[in-house]
């Protein structure tokens, strides 16, 4: 048997030889040789099948032992790689602000359609906002793939399926949803249908959000955001204003607890929103903010070493400088101390303070507290301040009371926080903790910070900001009423009324800002639409709700320690001393 195999085994003998050989040997050798041939064939068969089984065995070992994980993991997830959902955004307490949900998008393959007209009519009936002619155009095009509508509701999907038309297909996609509604739209921004961030945090953090994974925690407190939105909306309605902006900031960490720009829009209604609604007034819009800038002027003056709160400046008569005249809204017609200039909001006094400290020092100080460049924060909608190229005497004087320089309200927050804490901390829209809170740059001396606390408080106790006061919370602040420019003139009837306030002034932590754009006097305001009438109550109302919300116990208004830390003795020229 083995010999026979040896003879026949060389497999490289061409097969075509075999029949001829067999034919030649058959008659000569007889039954014995045919047995040998059968045996040899059996051996070949055995060898072939052994090799085949070996291959199967090896493949089995490979499939079960070496590729086991890679195959099992994909079961139940057809269609290749699983879709990565865009990461959620939450507020600082975990309340969801933005999330991604699966959605169906309708597309068509015109080549597969049997009856485009019927299909188009059916689609136009089933989907609101889709016009028959438009769909028909798409369905009769030469392309093999046309989008009909993105992100259908389950009901719409059902209706389209019920049409029973071939060639209409659904693509599983992800849609962005904002459960908190409209109020955060200028902070969060929005995405396009492909889930790419177009504004706000969605745009600024597009990379990390698109990568999916853990939610991103914003610094916004939705409750505070809601309070601010409500109070601002009330004021805008009550004074028939065109819009407004409001913010709440933790001055120590730079976290923005609320940032509202009105009018706003629902993120889902991006297509129908107006430019006005999409405009971000708190970080992109630059404005001549008016008297709130006296906060900066006062801090700069005290830092310059040229003045104390008791230094007097002549505010008896308007300043005439070239073609400009600087006048006061409520003229006192006498010399005013620095504290009085702040409390009575004297433009004349502020202009004289600016000249005393010098334009160069004023400019240096303002740049030091961040007013010469865009604010450094996450958002990409950032306004660049418009500052005079040539910081002349007259621009220095007008800047002292907030005209001739345009900054964003966010700049005002950052700068005011610096004068009240001494530290310049970049504002953020993301939650910070002890590790991520930046050290900040010390820009104002502790002595000036202490005096600023007192004039802030005195303005609310005795000055223009009375209606921002909340008993027990020691609110301090500064009003501002700016006339808006129209062409090259200021318009007395188009104002920007604002108030910037902080509390509690013995150790201020929260900074609250409200700005109302073009308020008109209403029945209750006796013809006024100034910061003290329009914006100060907004700040007061926000603080009255924010304090209890954060569990801050109201202090005794007569607490001697707090009074000592916030009171201010104001000397008039007549040597009357008034204490606030």
């Amino acid at each position: 048997m083995t010999e026979a195999i040896d003879q026949q085994l060389p497999l490289d003998i061409p097969l075509s030889h075999a029949p001829r050989e067999r034919h030649a040997t058959l008659g000569r050798i007889g039954p014995h040789s045919s047995l040998a041939m059968a045996q040899s064939r059996l051996a070949i068969l055995g060898a072939v099948s052994t090799i085949a089984f070996l291959v199967v065995a090896l493949r089995l070992i490979d499939a079960t032992m070496f590729q086991a994980n890679s195959t099992i993991a994909n079961y139940g997830e057809p269609g290749g790689a699983p879709m990565v959902a865009r990461a959620d955004i939450t507020d600082r307490n975990g309340q969801m602000l933005a999330t991604s949900l699966p959605a169906q998008s309708l597309y068509a393959d015109p080549a597969k359609l049997l009856d485009p007209v019927t299909a188009a009519r059916g689609i136009a009936n089933a989907l609101p906002g889709i016009k028959f002619e438009e769909v028909l155009d798409k369905l009769t095009s030469a392309k093999r793939f046309v989008w009909i509508k993105r992100n259908l509701t389950p009901d719409e999907v059902y209706k389209v399926n019920a049409l029973g038309q071939p060639g209409l297909e659904f693509q599983e996609e992800s849609t962005r949803l904002y459960p908190a509604g409209t109020s955060t739209v200028h902070v969060l921004g929005y995405t396009d249908v492909d889930g790419k961030g177009l504004s706000g945090l969605e745009r600024a953090l597009n990379g990390p959000l698109a990568a999916g994974g853990a939610p991103i925690t914003s610094s916004i407190d939705l409750r505070v955001q809601h309070i601010m939105e409500r109070e601002l909306t009330k004021a805008i309605q009550s004074f028939s204003a065109v819009g407004g902006a409001g913010m709440v900031m933790d001055m120590y960490t730079g976290e923005m607890l609320a940032a509202v720009s009105l009018p706003d829009f629902a993120p889902g209604q991006l297509a129908t929103s107006t430019d006005e609604e999409r405009f971000n007034r708190f970080s992109l819009g630059t404005y001549e903010l008016g008297s709130v800038m006296k906060v900066i002027t006062t801090a700069a003056g005290l830092e310059s070493g040229h003045m104390t709160l008791d230094t007097f400046y002549d505010a008896a008569n308007p300043i005439k400088y070239g073609r400009f005249t600087i006048n006061d809204y409520h003229p006192e017609h006498r010399a005013l101390s620095v504290a009085e200039v702040f409390i009575y909001s004297s433009n004349i006094g502020a202009a004289r303070m600016a000249m005393d400290m010098g334009p160069a020092f004023q400019r240096e100080f303002m740049c030091k507290i961040g007013l010469c460049e865009p604010v450094k924060t996450e958002l990409m909608e950032l306004g660049t301040p418009q500052i005079p190229a040539n910081w002349s005497d007259i621009s220095s004087m007008t800047i002292a009371f907030g005209h001739g320089i345009s900054i964003t309200p966010l700049h005002m927050m950052q700068a005011t926080a610096a004068t009240l804490t001494g530290n310049l901390v970049t504002p953020t829209f993301l939650k910070r903790d002890e590790v991520t809170t930046p050290q900040g740059v010390t820009v104002v001396s502790p002595h000036t910070v202490d005096l600023m606390h007192r004039v802030f408080r005195a303005n609310v106790v005795a000055g223009s900001g009375k209606s921002a006061d909340v008993p027990g919370y020691f609110v301090g602040g500064k009003t501002g009423t700016a006339e808006k420019t129209q062409g090259r003139r200021y318009n007395r009837d188009a104002r920007l009324s604002s108030f910037i306030g902080a509390f509690p002034m013995n150790k201020p932590r929260y900074l609250v800002y409200a700005m109302i754009d073009e308020p008109r006097p209403n029945a209750d305001s006796h013809g006024y639409a100034t910061g003290g009438w329009v914006a100060a109550p907004v700040v007061g109302n926000v603080i009255a709700q924010l304090g209890p919300l954060y569990g801050m116990p109201p202090a005794d208004p007569n607490d001697p320690d707090i009074r000592k830390a916030t009171q201010l003795e104001i000397r008039s020229r007549q040597e009357e001393i008034e204490t606030y």
Binding site: I72, Y75, G76, E77, A85, Q95, M96, T99, S100, L101, P102, L177, P179, A180, G181, S183, L222, R223, H226, R230, V470, P471, G472, Y473, A544, Q545, G547, P548, L549, G551, P553, P554
Partner: protein, 219 residues
Amino acid sequence: MNRRFVLVAALALMAGAMVLNTSLKTRVQEDRLAQINREIASEQERIRVLTAEWHSLKSPGRIEALTRRYIKDMNTIKPVQIASLADIPDRLPEPETPAPTLAQADTKTETVSKPVQLASAAKPATRSTAPAPAPATPARATARPAQTIVASAKPAAPKPVATTTASATIDDSASDQVASLINQQSAPTAPKDEISFIIERDSQPRQPDVVTASFADDR
């Protein structure tokens, strides 16, 4: 050799049958696994949808609108409504008041002892959850659901100078309602109208929404 061949063939057949069986079983298990994975994915999607809906339902704007609509007398908390425990004056009950309630108050009760102006009419509370036990004696005739304590205690003070001690053992949510009924702002002190509340947060599990109120009437 024949026998060996048969043996090997039988073994091969058996092995083949076992492999076939195993592979069929595997197929079934794989199908099940795929099915379960699909279910998990779909459940996770539903959880995402429900989470989004929940967050939309509890957004402050919606809660506020609902509050305005259904809780008529609830206003925004004013700073004056916040008080620390130290601000609450210690008001010891009259000597003849039973001691046990006091002892309880020391251990695990929250004592809101505050002069309260009584509501003028004995109108029922806005949201009474359950009726109190039926009045047993004429002296207890004024026992009402716990929420009506403020409203109904006045007729229970027959003597000119009387201190009514209402000891209401209620669950947490109800105690908040009671607390909200205490109008802290208006408190002209009329001695005969004084009520001392002892709100006891019971650690024992209780029947939900059942509120019992008992008046330890003056004697």
